[in-house]
Amino acid sequence: MSLSAALPQRPRWFGGDALGPRLARHTLTLVALALLLLPLADLAVVTRDPWAEIARLAQGLAWPAWGAVETPLHALGLTIAVALWGTLAGVVLGFPLALLFARSRLVRAGCAFVRAIHELFWALLFLQVFGLSALTALAALAIPYAGIFAKVYAEILEETPRAPADALPLGVSRLVRFVYSELPLAWPRIAAYTRYRFECGLRASVLLGFVGLPTLGFQLETAFREGRYHEAGALLWLFYLLIASLPWWSQRRLVPVLLIGGAFLLGPWPAINGGLLWRFISQDIWPRPLLEGDWAGLLAWLAEVPDLAPAIGNTLLLGLLGTVGSLLVALVMWPLASRHFGNRATRLAGSGVLVFLRSTPELLLAFIFLLLLGPSMLPAWLALALHNGALIAFLVARHADSLTPGMAQLPASGRLAYELLPRVYPSLLALLYYRAEVILRETAILGMLGVATLGYYIDENFQYLMFDIAFLLLLVTAMLNIGVDALSRRFRPREAPLDVPGG
């Protein structure tokens, strides 16, 4: 006390344990790391004449051909039904696990594993057994979501105040304590998170169409891939409208109606064939030499596996660049959609841009950048950064809207710099850390660009029907994701209010 009071301390930039400097250090470290590794990324720009194709694309979006879409209402209905039932099944599976989450290491590890695999890859796995059926679609959503719900619900329950539980008389059963003192307090946040996850489910449900389930994505992917942009435009608009109108049709009272209505749309149900299932899990996914105990053969098999080191390197690098890019995009964009800035018109435009960016499948964004910039990691990076950055920006804007500025007389720039940004930044960073794991999973689906990430090889081996190699790569990917998840959890600012859902 005496010494430090006597000697005026040298101002310590970004030093100390206070939240502000700590977050600043995190941010700067991330950015510095990205800049340091940037030379390793392949960011060549090749532009010749992309404009003819871009013009065709823009025309397609501007003049959608509604008539060209086959059974749009069925596709739309099925997209909602899969998202709704998939999310519900995830809740049913995930909730009991959330109660065991803190106590059982096995549950935690299991949940981390199922979350670490992208919905599309779950779908590709189930496709081998259940075919193109509703069960494949539901399981592809429900299983990873169960892992996510277990983790997030457990965190929410953990953060409920203890006082009400302590006030209960002694000898009250665990169940009573849970139902009367914990659940009611956690309920609003659990409900809010579940809603948010449902929106993610909608996007995932569309994506499932990309592997062949008849949701909106089925026709969207083909129309887009084959350059029928007017048809693709119609489907995209349908999807934007679906996401933008979510607050109106996802009312609590409508959910039972949607659930029952959706149940009729789900289908076809597969004839579950025990033999197929058993063949897949006992043979298809294991290397044959291993099953035959042929060790020399196993070495030869390992030689067939794509070179793992560059694949892991590319995956991590793209994941890191995507994360840092998302941070920058989110920082720039969140004020566009917040009630504290601009006027009605700018806010409407801002929200529109954010809905557009976060709802547009990354694959589409990546393709536009691929045309503009040529094949390299750059289009993938931009697509990941814009998509995820817009998503974070939207959540941060909603968080900021719930705050009342204490210094209302400040001009907008001052309000942003001195009050709102410092108040929302912890949760922005928390969201980013949650999202890092998602970004890493998403690097998988950008294989079209020839960026050889792990996901690129997984997809390739599913196409070659070499399920054993695909499965090995899936395990590697899952381990990588679990590692990154653990890292991001360690660095996530604990002080961040979790009312803003992440994940």
Binding site: E70, L132, N273, P375, L449, F462, L465
Partner: protein, 285 residues
Amino acid sequence: MRWIAMTAVTLAVLAQGAQAEETFRFTAIPDEDQSRLIERFSKVANYLEDRLDVEVEYVPVKSYGAAVTAFRNDQVQLAWFGGLSGVQARRLVPDSRALAQGQEDAEFQSYFIAHRSTDLEPADELPEAIADKSFTFGAKTSTSGRLMPEHFLRQRFDEAPEDVFSRVGFSGDHSRTIALVESGTYELGAVNYSVWEAAVEDGRVDTDTVEVIWSTPSYPDYQWTIRGDADERYGDGFSERVQQALLEMDDPALLESFPRSAFIPADNSMYAPIEEVAESLGLLR
């Protein structure tokens, strides 16, 4: 573990019961224009239903891989496969056989196309000058967009494509290969000849910007393949009746869905060259 097995068995038994009246299912992915699949191929299903006296249903799929999986898992019994996917499928399902191919498929070709900035001229042999340019295949398991082009590239340069070109991509689709080469994103590409010709005919491609510089020697491609157990399940001689129905399909409205001018007989041995190439490229084992 035991209860999982029990449940699986119970469900399987229930499923067997539900499948009492057997529907004959088929799938098909045309090499171009996959719009309105259900509408177009339901007409083909109706035609087959009339000819075969069983219920016939069309199952839409997205990719060759999905088609092979559906065939292997008996979710479809007949499929219109590409050259490579047909070989994959017949290896996985014992006694399955190729029944018919399109008239065009007996002598199929791939075109190598180039952006005008490369200054490459059409030639009888793949020009040396394509080395060190950027290049895109179509889908990874496409016979005309990947397998055969890679085979001829290796024959010409005795090197993997990754070593010949500065960059190798997989566009995922023939139409997209054309779009990417036309926009100069990739300097060169390999494309299914019939997709290219249809695109030129419809004016969907600017032939001043991108042109064909080489066409591959011919090879067999798309074919109808039926499962080996079809006769057992749908009656003796069923496969022959399916073959007959396919060969006699002469309604242009049906044929243009594939798009083929007619179907001609085919058998497994015709695809031996494809199998060999796929094995040598490590796509089959």
